[in-house]
Amino acid sequence: MSRTISCKQAVDLISKKEEAKLSATQRFALWRHLAVCSLCRTFSVQNKIIKKALTQEDYRVLTTEEKEVIVKTVLQTKP
């Protein structure tokens, strides 16, 4: 394992870390990189925000008319 990793490698490791796919060596390498690289630290924060926004629940509902369309369309076909 090389002494230091590049930003590109760090970014790859940040994504893999989400899946808990890092070896101890990789975790250590990433930790060391983030300790000195504010850009990749920022990227890591952004990554968390993206994840949070993606898993945000939607509260939209179907209107009564839209539900009626479903019922009518489906009932017209033979079971």
């Binding site: 590049s6 930003c7 590109k8 490698q9 970014v11 790859d12 994504s15 989400e18 899946e19 796919k21 850009l39 990749c40 920022t42 990227f43 924060v45 952004q46 990554n47 925000i49 993206i50 994840k51 949070k52 926004a53 993606l54 898993t55 945000q56 629940e57 939607d58 509260y59 939209r60 509902v61 179907l62 839209e66 539900k67 369309v69 479903i70 019922v71 369309t73 489906v74 009932l75 076909t77 079971p79």
Partner: protein, 188 residues
């Protein structure tokens, strides 16, 4: 005993909103989501006699909807789309020869206060509109990973992607989202 039609109406009024929201979280297109929910109900109606009541109606409907969504993912995933993404953005777009961030590509601080509901909602709107600009395959990868919590190996198998292409798609999608968010939100 209630007739089938009454029962079916009750299913739609009770479960269609939850099904619709489930689809919305996974696909960006409202109309498409409505169609898929309708398709799911249609499939349920056709199999109504085969439904043994082993699972709850709700679970049964969700299983059907999930398979409709998976079918859609398979259709949406075209070789061409992946190739275009791989061609348009290569790693040199973001990193220089030393694999360091390029000057114009520096990640910027995002200030989003999620505890402020108005701000969180505004951010979500910008985020959703940025999400719509991604290619469908990128959204699919995002959703499978973050919403469904699938493992990269399963996603690759499901979408027949190579592992390296998967990571590239995921990464490009993040960087594209970043650029869009920085333009439309962070400059406020």
């Amino acid at each position: 005993m209630m007739d089938k039609e009454t029962i079916f109406r009750a299913w739609v009024s009770e479960h269609s909103d939850a099904l619709f929201r489930f689809a919305l979280q996974r696909l960006q297109d409202d109309e498409l989501c409505k169609d898929l929910v309708q398709d799911a109900f249609l499939a349920a109606w056709r199999n109504v006699d085969g439904y043994k009541g082993e699972a709850s109606v709700k679970n049964w409907l969700f299983v059907i909807l999930k398979s409709k969504i998976t079918d859609h993912y398979r259709k949406a995933h075209t070789r061409l789309e992946v190739d275009t993404i791989l061609r348009e953005h290569n790693d040199h777009t973001f990193f220089d020869e030393q694999d360091h961030w390029r000057k114009g590509m520096y990640p910027k601080q995002w200030r989003v206060d999620f505890s402020n509901r108005v701000e969180a909602k505004e951010f979500q709107q910008v985020f959703d509109s940025c999400g719509k600009k991604l290619k469908e395959i990128q959204n699919t990868v995002f959703v499978m990973k973050y919403v469904d919590g699938l493992d990269s190996e399963d996603i690759c198998k499901e979408l027949s992607l190579s592992s390296s292409n998967y990571w590239v798609l995921l990464h490009r999608a993040k960087v594209q989202l970043r650029a869009c968010l920085e333009k439309n939100w962070m400059q406020k």
